[in-house]
Subunit: 579 residues, 2 copies
């Protein structure tokens, strides 16, 4: 039950660690602004700006993947207008980790502004790949920083803090500003037994709490979930069982960026005498980058090529493949459709070591069902703990709040429902609801060390859609037409008129796409043609009718007729040529 | 962990209750056939036929709602060809309960075949509404049967058994055949404290087990889930808390068919001094039908109209609304967009008393997020137990298997992943995997009382798509075009040629829908026009080129150009008029 009863606080969160300390000199800026800038329609994530006087820092530059409501859109990127308008003030772009929703918009951003890009080794390694694909590697200024280092940004400095997440080398950030310290958790979980032996740095959060934190910007993705997320190493134990017990081949799919999970796959394969086969381009690329940087360890002889599988017994094979989200072109999806060179066979065990990204459920279950029909045994989260989340559950979120004891908190990187859950949770700890601030894209939160207030918002479009090679061009009207055609198809009515007399020279010709099978439509279209001829003849010779009117007349005649006769509403496109 | 270890059986399921007893006389059919007939692409559900000699029974006639893969399709109905071809043998259509996926295809079926339709009072009441909407009430032969009754069907008889589910008056069926008894669970859960005081009839299942069951056809929807589903009455307790504690109005959304849930809403409203307002047509209709049949009890004065809400304080109001699946036109979705006459205001509590049907997650969370942004507090399954499932979890499924001790079992009404989970579960009980039979649409399972074998399958299309008013016409090619246009839009190229010389008289004119904003496309289209002119001029005068060739030339020229320049692949439709 999520009632609003306030529990007695176990730490006195009503007296925060930070004391009001406003600087009164003229040289030092006496306020700091926090401005979410990014990306998705509903939630402020992917990118955040922090301004102190004429010093501007950008944290992350991520993309959002569109839901079914945005057909044909490949990516959503943040609106960079504010950054381009303030390019002279931009001191640094700081990346928290290497996931697409935190680095994927970097190529688009660096085409608009110039600034040094900071990140930990793996994050910079993955950003480098992304920039290389866009031909931007030569012009980018990439700088590696380790957790515990400091990035000087004029009147501010940024300190990465080691945390744990579903990709190695993830950091939270402490931003040291003239009015106090801000802690931005980024994406994190509290893992005390991570696969790479580099646990969450709770001590540094505690120190910052002692020093005084004015603002905590917190991950909220799992704020609805009670307890603690299990350690990543739990999955290794489960892999061990399956790799040992599976009668035939084991195929594992996971996110290509989940290097910890990939390491556990490789370790389990080696331990149980299975050779590793890698399927899928992004998987191959990330393994190369992560191994070069020391984040993956395995002997060369562990890996075999797909063609070499035939020389091995099924129980000597473990395949790691892309396709955990049911992406139609990914290797596992092709295997499920029996159109990949790796053919699924009875005796195979497929492990879905991932969780559906919202919106992908249909595609993922379709893949799972197809694999089962082909004779595979499929193991997934619901029936075996083959996946753990990379985001903190409630107890971990509470821990970070307790360690930092901030004056204010911004629930971030979640949807409104997660912000609601986070707010209820901290209120239950005795944290004052009035000190929980919900921000939206373009909001300006102004902190002076004591008070928090909202300034005049920055105009942001909320989302910039990338479709094909370029951003822009996909407007709401375009999307509306796409949605409309997706459900009703399109019917095109073409007629050639004599430019002088308005008499029909040829047509009307009616063709359709995605409406009805031509055989079923033929009779209908014949009737519709007669109606158009009648309507156009009635209007011929009238001087008051221009070609816009003729198009509208044609469209309305056909739309009305088809709706009445079929109940369907295709997009009717009239083309009137005057010859 | 879902390992395949076989636990010691707690009942001796290796010696089933039914003994082989083949009838050898000529009069009595010596085998029975089970034929799933329906509906969805991936799974055998919605409709099942049972044949004994020349007696044919149909169980259920349901629809499936399409996923995102079938844009514009309203419904999927079973393929009725086999039933139409065997109409003379059809003795009865027996409905297990009143959900759309069990009765929704009845109007389409009764247009093809004539047979008496049997069901419990509420099921028949809801079927009557559905038939009335289709103008078929006059011709339909609807017959009410109570649990415990018998329906004579030639050499077979059907006995409804009272079970519990998310709609009242749900029954399992015992089919008494010449070769033995078949138990078809339909959808069920084991609720010992149902809202209407009519619990699951475990005793009858046990009796049937004693008498001997050759086949159990079992629900598998929740076969992946451990334990027992909580009783429906648990939700009433949670409603009580929210209706008591909410500071303002309470708004509840649930499935309009969940009469138990509606009763609990009404009871909680009355108990806590709130008047009830009903929003949404299907909700109003079902309340009327259910009350007439005695399945809903409330005093007339509990209900007020929407207009009367203004006279009441917020904490005197409880609203029951459609929209639990985020359907764009439902009342709650309109409220979330602030376009309904009931305006969401801070202080409102919205209870999502339902679970997402797969594929609807995006739309539901969008609604939830919008409601939160409007100031409502939204309560849902993840944060408060405001919903329970209507389908049996593993312990309930095991109970029914133990009570009936069948010779064979068919996991039914689920996807392959649920069939896999069910099979593992019963194997863990000591049930022989070889006696678990997976059926697909059109499969013919032949039982002779001792053996089970698969006959030559019946050809079924798997799915018949209903779009607009009619079934058919929406072919795979039509769907492919819709999907293609949904992501790329359409570009239409029209040109008028001189029929004699092949010279261009007018055009090419290029218009688009759902491609790019016209301003962004203008320059591109100008270049594309030049390319088309060039290509057509090159081919003019050649006798070997017909109008199909000209169309292909136009299409390919434009497609190639747009793909190269934009990375997009719209559906290019060429219209060549020869004047």
């Amino acid at each position: 039950m999520n009632t609003t009863t306030v529990e007695p606080p176990f730490l006195d969160l009503s007296s925060p660690s930070a004391q009001p300390s406003i600087s009164a000199t003229d040289d030092i800026p006496s306020s700091v602004e926090i401005i979410p800038l990014g990306g998705a329609a509903e939630i402020g994530k992917n990118m955040l700006a922090i301004r102190s006087g004429h010093d501007l820092i950008v944290i992350d530059a991520g993309v959002t993947f569109p839901d079914n409501d945005l057909p044909g859109v490949d990516l959503i990127i943040p609106d960079f207008t504010y950054l381009a308008d303030n390019a002279d003030d931009l001191r640094a772009i700081v990346l928290t980790h290497g996931h697409e929703d935190h680095i994927g918009a970097l190529p688009f951003l660096l085409r608009r502004v110039q600034a040094p890009v900071y990140g930990t080794p793996l994050t910079i390694g993955l950003a480098r790949e992304r920039l290389d694909e866009h031909g931007l590697l030569g012009s980018a200024d990439l700088r590696v920083v380790e957790a515990g280092g400091r990035i000087a940004c004029g009147s501010m400095s940024v300190e990465p803090i080691r945390v744990t997440h579903s990709i190695p080398d993830t950091v939270s950030l402490a931003i040291h500003t003239p009015v106090g310290k801000i802690v931005h958790t980024g994406d994190f979980k509290v893992d005390h037994t991570p696969v790479d032996g580099r646990p969450f740095d709770a001590a540094r959060f505690a120190e910052l709490g002692d020093e005084g934190v004015i603002l905590l910007i917190s991950d909220t993705v799992n704020a609805e979930k009670k307890g603690w997320v299990p350690s990543e190493s739990v999955v290794g134990t489960v892999f061990d069982q399956h790799f040992r017990d599976a009668p035939g081949r084991v195929l594992v799919t996971t996110f290509a960026s989940n290097i910890h999970r990939i390491q556990q796959f490789l370790t389990a394969a080696e331990r149980h005498g299975r050779k590793a086969v890698i399927a899928g381009r992004s998987m191959i690329r990330n393994i190369r980058v992560a191994r070069e940087l020391g984040h993956l360890r395995y002997p060369d002889e562990l890996m075999v090529a797909v063609d070499e599988m035939d020389d091995l017994a099924p129980d000597e094979i473990a395949v790691l493949t892309t396709g955990s989200q049911g992406e139609p072109l990914a290797a596992l999806s092709q295997m499920a459709r029996d159109s990949h060179k790796i053919r699924i066979q009875p005796g195979d065990t497929v492990i879905m070591s991932s969780t559906p990204i919202p919106g992908n459920e249909d595609a993922i279950w379709r893949t799972v069902n197809r694999l089962i029909r082909l004779g595979a045994r499929v193991v997934y989260d619901l029936i075996s703990p083959v996946h753990v989340s990379g985001h903190a559950n409630q107890e971990e979120l509470k821990l970070v709040l307790s360690l930092t004891r901030p004056l204010y908190v911004v629930p971030f990187h979640g949807e409104p429902r997660m912000m609601q859950a986070y707010t209820d949770m901290v209120a239950g700890m005795g944290f004052d609801r009035d000190r929980v601030i919900w921000l939206d894209n373009g909001n300006r939160l102004i902190l002076d060390g004591a008070d928090a207030m909202l300034g005049e918002p920055i105009p942001v479009s909320g989302r910039v859609l990338v479709d094909g090679m370029s951003a822009g061009g996909v407007t709401d009207a375009v999307l509306r037409d796409r949605r409309h055609m997706a459900v009703g198809g399109t019917v095109i009515v073409t007629v050639a008129l004599d430019g002088e007399t308005g008499h029909i020279l040829d047509g009307p010709e009616i063709v359709s796409r995605g409406f009805l099978h031509p055989n079923d439509a033929e009779g209908l279209f014949e009737e519709a043609r007669d109606l158009v001829v009648e309507a156009l003849n009635d209007s011929a010779g009238s001087d008051e009718i221009d070609s816009d009117d003729l198009r509208a007349l044609t469209r309305d005649t056909v739309s009305r007729f088809l709706r009445k006769r079929t109940g369907r509403r295709p997009v009717v496109v009239p083309v009137v040529m005057e010859v």
